[in-house]
């Protein structure tokens, strides 16, 4: 098959909607436009049935006992906000301490920072060099005031998959509510809220080939029954946890995407893992001083994150972006002017954080695309190293750390 440009290899930022998802959604914009809360006419009934079906599809994907445990939101960010703020407000009398990690998505970290300003105490547990959280570190962080443990399922940058079942077990043992941001994991690897002891789980449609603008929060109803305060007030939709008219077409699309993900996950994960390993082998066998970020095995099958020493990430992307779309942990590609806090948290030097490139494959990635991107990346990194003063110094045997750098 001929290559089609640009090649998309940034599926951990978003994914294209699967055509089957779009097809399922379309009728709900026009002829099936009813409001699911309209209880007294067929338009409402039809819309409510569609939402219920999507809830079932999503519940099946995450192993929930009851579809009613799912609350639809506008996306992952809202789900994370609802989970953490919802618990903080509801259980404030019980305690004011939250345990989370340093590598959570910005939404998780920013919610915790806000809560700290409001008098909550937050412990940010560090991660090991492979991105894994030591469950014992979480245990040590727990106090008698801890009301919530919030740990992401799989990391958005380096793909490391946490031992969620062990954290779930610990939370249960201590009687603490456990939230996981599973936006990167749901639909990609097996997730089971029942088997893993998860009380709250955030996920989003647009990372599983569904539409943008819809996500969900799983809220456990039994053993224990978790209660959360809503973020805002309104008509009592979603059992009062998330008022607002449900975006039925988006929810239908989310449900369809969940169903496709559930039925194709094993095969798709195996295929992407093979492609990812091919990409990794090609690059690491051709480029010296290129380092794999994250855990070598416990990571998402479609994720590859490599730091190329002595070249800056944005300049690598610039050499690639005519033909392919990737992302970098470089400060120059972020809005904060700081390099990736995730790569930095793994103990890598700031320089290597600036030099990280994330390749993320998806359902429509092909072997030809992988081969093209591998070859092009190797070429661009070599070219940039030829113009890198750091590479030159390193090749002359100069220890870069011995130089007194004059920062701006």
């Amino acid at each position: 098959m001929a290559l089609k440009f640009p090649i998309f290899m940034d599926s951990q930022s978003t994914t294209p909607a699967d055509p089957r998802v779009v097809e399922a959604m379309l009728p709900y914009f026009t002829e099936k436009f009813g409001h699911p809360a309209s209880r007294n006419h067929p338009f409402g009934w039809e819309a409510e049935a569609a939402v219920d079906r999507a809830r079932e599809q999503l519940a099946a994907l995450i192993g929930a006992r009851d579809p009613k445990e799912l609350v639809f939101t506008s996306g992952g960010t809202e789900a994370i906000n609802l989970a953490i703020k919802g618990v903080a407000e509801m259980y404030r009398e019980k305690g004011n301490h939250i345990v989370t990690t340093v590598i959570e998505q910005r939404a998780g970290l920013d919610v915790c920072k806000r809560l700290e300003r409001q008098g909550f105490q937050v412990t940010y547990v560090p991660v090991q060099a492979d991105g894994l959280v030591d469950v014992e570190e979480i245990r040590k962080a727990i106090t008698d005031k801890t009301i919530l443990i919030s740990v992401m399922f799989a990391n958005n940058e380096v793909g490391t998959i946490q031992d969620i079942a062990a954290i779930g077990k610990l939370a249960k043992e201590k009687g603490i509510i456990f939230h996981t941001d599973a936006t990167q994991a749901v639909g990609k690897i097996p997730v089971s809220v029942e088997a893993m002891g998860i009380d709250l789980l955030s996920c989003t449609a647009h990372l599983i080939y569904g539409p943008k603008g819809v996500g969900a929060l799983y809220v456990r109803r039994k053993s224990p029954r978790v209660r959360i305060s809503p973020l805002f007030d309104g008509g009592g939709h979603e059992r009062g946890m998330r008022p607002g008219t449900l975006p039925v077409p988006l929810i239908v699309g989310f449900g369809k995407a969940a169903e496709i993900a559930r039925t194709s996950m094993d095969e798709e994960a195996a295929r992407l893992r093979t492609l990812r390993d091919r990409l990794q082998d090609k690059i690491l066998s051709s480029v010296d001083e290129a380092f794999l970020n994250g855990h070598p095995e416990r990571r998402l099958p479609h994720n590859l994150n490599i730091s190329f020493a002595y070249v800056e990430g944005e300049s690598v992307l610039m050499g690639l972006n005519k033909e392919s779309a990737l992302s970098s942990g470089s400060a120059c590609t972020s809005s904060t002017l700081e390099p990736s806090y995730v790569i930095s948290a793994l103990g890598a030097s700031a320089e290597l954080a600036h030099s990280s490139i994330r390749f993320s494959l998806h359902r429509f990635s092909t072997e030809e695309e992988v081969d093209f991107v591998a070859a092009k990346t190797i070429e661009v990194v070599k070219r940039l190293r030829d113009m890198s003063p750091l590479y030159e110094l390193a090749k002359e045997g100069v220890d870069l750390k011995s130089i007194q750098w004059k920062a701006e």
């Binding site: 300049s315 700031a350 600036h354 003063p389 870069l400």
Partner: protein, 137 residues
Amino acid sequence: MAYSDKVVDHYNNPRNVGSFTKDTPGVGTGLVGAPECGDVMKLQIKVNLETGVIEDAKFKTFGCGSAIASSSLATEWLKGKTVDEAAKIKNTDIVNELKLPPVKIHCSVLAEDAIKAALADYKDKHGAQAEAGATTK
């Protein structure tokens, strides 16, 4: 963020990439920035000791496309200028030429720092000749 055509051109066809041996007569070297900040520029000038004119300039840069473009442009501008004229290159000139957005202004500042550092190094090493060269123009 889209890049200006000039930044893309300098990135794709960087001018004067390379290095002079540091102790060659007439060479001044500036090394500025820091790896942990994501930007390091090495800029070198080769000055004609008789005339005080910069006959050649070279750079190597670790940094984003705008940093590469800023230093590439700087080497172009340095060639043919006297040491004193070179000292007048301002980062705002680079910003205007490359149409750098606000978040990339630090790249032009670093390029100006690199020029200044190379000139200072040249003057350090060639104090007497540098003065002599300056008086002949």
